[in-house]
Amino acid sequence: MTLLDFARGPALQWSLIILVFGVMWRIIGALLIMAKKDLSKPRRKTMLRDGLKTIATRSLPEHQFEKRIRFQHLSGYAWHIALFISVLFFAPHIMFFESVLGFGWPHLPNPVILGTAAVSLAILLALLIRRASHPVQRLISNVDDYISILVVIVPLITGILAFAHVGARYETLLAIHLLSVEALFVWFPFGKLMHTALTFPSRFDAGASFGRKGVKA
């Protein structure tokens, strides 16, 4: 079995199993902890609507907050969007998704994908430096924060190298790229990348709990 066969076969299967079961374990485990019923009389009974609304509205901070978090806010959006474009609209990625899902979609030109991957990588490196140097982020950061950035950065780097055919044979570069993505899958349930799934119940909770008091969250 070649390295590429391993990356495409057992490594991919096991990393996906760990990803799916790990995510379910962590979400269900957190939700199973008991919560006492709130006996206070709600000001309004629109908790479902309030919760769903906050899932959307919390994406755009109020201007009183925005003026103090502009860099983090905009850079966060920029790298996420650039990453998703690179993942979802690169022709070889779409071929892979098509082989799994049975359908595909139009791709973007390679230079565009290279650009978005480079933008995402550059911002992530800047955020990594900021995390290590900004007093607040340095104080509150732990190993998870650094690993979670690295497991996103490495697939971007290996992807760009594979795309450019730089440093080794294409098959080897592709295998390394696949393995780096699988490392991300394996780390996902254990670290803060879980926010991808947990943001929704967390924001919903905020919207519902403030909403029952009549406060827009």
Binding site: M34, S59, M194, P201
Partner: protein, 444 residues
């Protein structure tokens, strides 16, 4: 009308002596840790678990905190203020605890002592960070659990502990009991306002606070005047008038529960359908939002803040106000536990606009309002005075930017803290009461 200067000076002097002779709680380090952990375990629920699992350590919450903004000291980052609780969760409750435990430091007695300063002096539980968090984490709830854990470890700051012990053992706050209330009631009656004291049955039970009795008697008189004007069947009980809940602000739940239960039982005994809370943010939170949970059943009466009650009466036509503008420009300070945590945001504004005052919003208002800087009992803690003063500068800047001549608020504690800040800074604008402002403009 502002507070009497002499009374305010005496009150400030009494704060200097508060808790001075109180012996420290003599617990071993192991016992402190055991108690704190038990409290963490008891309080953590699925909502908090999701919040703790979701935090991405972005640190944006720091930018919402008035203490971080005032000092730029990273230790005031809200996420850092519940760090021991996060570690406890990862070791003991997280679904991944089997993996996290060996890599996560246990909570120690040193941690509890270090975090005592952060959760009592470096946080007023204002919840502004709750509104900032991009993940929607209820950060102030987690910090409050930290406060309760540290309280159970016997580490409540001496000033707050003195007040908490006083309320638990004597049912008084700042030494104000039935005798002091009755003296004030007589004075108010002599000034021409009837106070319906100690009626056995009434539809409305009005509460007041030691702060009103000592410093802001006009607020109590104003509430009485409005209740009389609308023809309410109301009473104030000398054996149980205190709405302040030192248990809530100190983190001592047994005191909180006792104070809440006392009010609920008295309201039931006199057949009250409505309990009206005075101008106090934390008292509103304690009774309106936490009261039923502390008592253990749904409350058989409605709980209203005095500003809510007045706004409702004005809206229904039961209370007429003089609506002619008198030229003075005012701004409103939202008490955190009445506004952001309580939902009473539109009512004070509706009243100020109804009065025809030149109402001007601060840039941060309503759900984004900055804390007065001394909420959740912090204004009594001597060691935090320099920090509070720095935070006051934010409020001063926001008030000044409105161009208003006066600040109006609806919380005695916010008022005290803002007045202390103003006095220290030599800032001349008055900090006035909403209920007094309304009562002074009742239509004939």
């Amino acid at each position: 009308m502002n507070a009497d200067n002499t009374a305010f000076r005496i009150f400030r002097e009494s704060l200097e002596r508060l808790g001075r002779d109180l012996p420290a709680d003599d617990l071993s380090d192991d016992e402190r840790v055991r108690r704190a952990k038990n409290t963490f375990l008891d309080k953590l629920d699925s909502h908090m678990a999701v919040d703790l699992e979701t935090c991405i350590h972005c640190g944006m919450c720091a930018e919402a905190c008035h203490y971080y903004e005032a000092t730029e000291d990273e230790k005031y980052s809200p996420v850092y203020k519940f760090e021991p609780l996060r570690r406890f969760y990862r070791r003991e409750l997280s679904p991944m605890r089997w993996l996290f435990r060996p890599f996560t430091k246990d909570v120690t007695a040193d941690d509890l002592e270090t975090w005592q300063e952060l959760v009592y002096e470096g946080c007023t539980g204002c919840g502004r960070c709750d509104m900032m968090c991009p993940m929607g984490i209820n950060i102030s709830t987690l910090i409050n659990v930290m406060r309760e854990g540290i309280a159970s470890a016997g580490l409540v700051p001496a000033e707050l502990r003195a007040l908490q012990i006083e309320q638990r053992e004597k049912n008084t706050v700042f030494g104000v009991g039935a005798v002091e209330l009755k003296e004030l009631v007589e004075k108010i009656r002599q000034q021409g306002t009837e106070i319906r004291l100690d009626r056995e049955q009434a539809e409305v039970l009005l509460l007041t606070t030691a702060a009103e009795v000592l410093l802001f008697p006009d607020a109590l008189a104003a509430s009485a005047k409005i209740l009389n004007r609308v023809g309410a069947d109301w009473t104030l009980l000398s054996k149980g008038f205190e709405a302040a809940n030192v248990g809530l602000v100190s983190g001592d739940e047994s005191t909180q529960k006792a104070a809440t239960t006392r009010i609920a039982e008295q309201a039931k005994a006199c057949g009250a359908a409505t309990v009206i809370l005075p101008e106090s943010g934390h008292a509103y939170q304690a009774m309106r939002w936490e009261g039923a949970n502390e008592v253990g059943e749904k409350l058989p009466f409605e709980v209203l803040a005095i500003s809510e009650f007045i706004a409702r009466e004005v809206s229904s036509g039961g209370l007429k106000l003089k609506t002619g503008a008198n030229g003075s420009a005012v701004t409103y300070h939202d008490p955190c536990r009445l506004g952001r945590h309580g939902g009473v945001i539109s009512e004070p504004r509706a009243l100020l606009k109804e009065l025809g005052l030149d109402f001007r919003e601060a840039d941060s208002n309503g759900r984004e309002n900055y804390c007065c800087g001394g909420g959740c009992g912090e204004y009594v803690i001597k060691r935090s005075a320099p920090l509070r003063q720095k935070a006051f500068e934010i409020k001063k800047r926001e008030f000044d930017e409105t161009g208003a001549d006066a600040v109006i608020t609806s919380c005695a504690n916010c008022r005290i803290n803002l007045m202390i800040g103003a006095q220290n800074a030599g800032w001349q604008k008055p900090v006035e009461s909403l209920v007094e402002t309304v009562a002074a403009r009742l239509a004939d």
